[in-house]
Amino acid sequence: MSSSTDDEGLMEELARAMHEVTEVPDHRREAARAAFTWRTIDEELLALTHDSLELADAAVRGNLDVRTLGFETDGLSLEIEVDGDRVFGQVLDADGNEVVVESVDDGSQTVPVDASGVFSVVVPAGPVRFGVMADGLLRHTPWIVLVAGDQDAR
């Protein structure tokens, strides 16, 4: 990269940079633009507190079956386990909950939650997010991919 001080080096860098513009697939642009329809105003997020995928050292990866994730905001937390395309979850520290699973491609589904906050749901492929209704407020997790699309079928 130090070569950019001379004209030839800078032209090479430029060629690479401009080439990237031509490499953007149209469907990616469409997906990026469409993301805006999911805008919600100034909402408090259930922040991701842990994802077992991020502890991907050999010791942890010994447990191949179940991925666990946690989300939290003050006084409310959501723990989920992902097994294939099924998610088992529990909402903690809040009453009268309802959980919504939202997917860009598959719309949203409302999931019943039992008295101890436990629920189970099959989630679609691609980015999804959970919305937890508690104390009259709907709070969402960040978008995250839990189930991958089929390599060819999408």
Binding site: M1, D7, L10, M11, E13, L14, A15, R16, A17, M18, H19, E20, V21, T22, E23, V24, P25, H27, R28, R29, A31, A32, R33, A35, F36, W38, R39, T40, I41, D42, E43, L45, D51, L53, E54, A56, R61, L64, R67, V104, A125, G126, P127, R129, H140, P142, W143, I144, V145, A148, G149, D150, Q151, D152, R154
Partner: protein
Amino acid sequence: MYLGLGFVRLQVMKASGVGAQSAEETPMTPRPEVEELVEAARAGDAAAWDALVDRYLPLVTAVIRRLHLSPADADDVNQTVWLRLVEHLDRLREPRALPGWLATTARNEGLRQIRRRTRDLPVDPGGAAFDTAEDSDPGEALVEELRSHALREAMLELSEKHRSLLLLLLADPPLSYDDISARLGIPKGSIGPTRARALDQLRSSRALRSWADDSPARHGGAFDVFLD
């Protein structure tokens, strides 16, 4: 590599949100600042959002491409990155850090996909998924992509004449000087000197100067700073 020139120009103009200009050495009409676009998008302006997408999509695409994901995974990561930005808009305190935030988010989500695939699959003794996951040092890869982004921004600061010349010189297959001379209506003999001036203008552009001032390369590639 094929560098379809007409396409590049079209893309550049589209990305800049500014139409063709007849001006000789005059700089283009200033583009909206990132701050203005973010502000407008926060207020619900979909056109401002589209402009943000056009500006940063090549960067996000390049970062994702480096990870060699399957097409489906790459699409998922792309979609996740933009959905994250939508949800992050109100929390974005320093819009100028946006390229770094996007590049870092794209890379992190891409790595998450790689780890998930690796976990889902039976143990592969060859470990191919990890071996081919990245071309080079990860921090360096992001720095290179961010540098490319700064160069594209710098191109948009050039005068129409300078930008056109550089794009014609980058055409693949290459154009002859006769061709370039005819297209731009400038004498062959002035192509070399004009190129030199164009590159000088590029080096002194705001985009490249601010890259030099606060690029992550100067902070040891510490990309964490972009994540809130």
